[in-house]
């Protein structure tokens, strides 16, 4: 399966033990493909730059780039989902729309997010995409 990860889920999984981390480890060890889109990549970089001290920030960014280089996480470029943004804006606010638009790509099976704005539209989006709380994903993905 191809799973798109939202920023809040990633930071929840990257920093701490818990359900999100278990899910991310499961996704890495199983034969699922993990994706982020351009906006999520930029948010990762910005959040790391704002929260980490300069020396540690450098190490954290090396890790992010390692994941992308070795395809542990696959980056979806904006031009691939840009045409879906107008449709996505019918369901969600303009800031979250690019992420929803990326999840509309036929290759993406799931979007994992903890964002309540996404969870509220879960029933409205008529597609194979199911938007789940992190704690729900294990039951649904197996």
């Amino acid at each position: 399966m191809n799973i798109l990860l939202d920023t809040n889920f990633l930071f929840s999984a990257l920093g701490f033990d818990g359900k999100s981390k278990e899910i991310l480890e499961y996704l890495i060890l199983s034969n699922n493909n993990v994706f982020i889109c351009d906006e999520i990549y930029k948010e990762l970089i910005k959040n790391i730059s704002q929260k980490f001290s300069p020396k540690v920030k450098k190490d954290a960014l090396i890790i992010i780039n390692y994941w992308l280089e070795y395809k542990a996480i696959i980056l979806i470029k904006r031009f691939m989902y840009e045409r879906n943004i107008i449709l996505a804006e019918k369901y969600i606010n303009k800031y979250d729309a690019p992420i929803l638009a990326a999840s509309f790509l036929p290759e993406i099976d799931y979007l994992i997010t903890g964002d309540k704005d996404f969870l509220n539209i879960k029933q409205k989006v008529k597609s194979k995409i199911i938007i789940l709380k992190a704690s729900e994903i294990v039951n649904n993905i197996n």
Binding site: F11, G15, L24, N31, K51, A72, R78, P98
Partner: protein, 82 residues
């Protein structure tokens, strides 16, 4: 990426497991299976390394997740301006 040959010795049990995966078409070859296993372990190690960095910075869940909505707005505006 250039691939270099090495010779490795594995217990029979592990060879059977790998061959089973190749037979099931999970991998195209033994080499591909072993490369994938190593990649996965390396990725898990980097996950742990990232976690160590957050401890080093005294970042808890709340601190790490705080402000993400604002960052999303910033990224949106920057993308729009480009």
């Amino acid at each position: 990426m250039q691939l270099n040959p090495i010779q490795i010795r594995l217990p029979k049990r592990q060879i059977i497991t790998i061959d089973k995966k190749v037979k099931q078409k999970d991998y195209s070859s033994r080499s591909e299976a072993i490369r994938d296993y190593i990649n996965k372990i390396e990725t898990l190690e980097t996950l742990r390394r990232f976690q160590e960095l957050t401890f080093k910075e005294n970042l808890n869940t709340k601190k790490l997740l705080t402000g993400l909505k604002n960052i999303r707005k910033q990224v949106y505006n920057e993308t729009l301006n480009n």
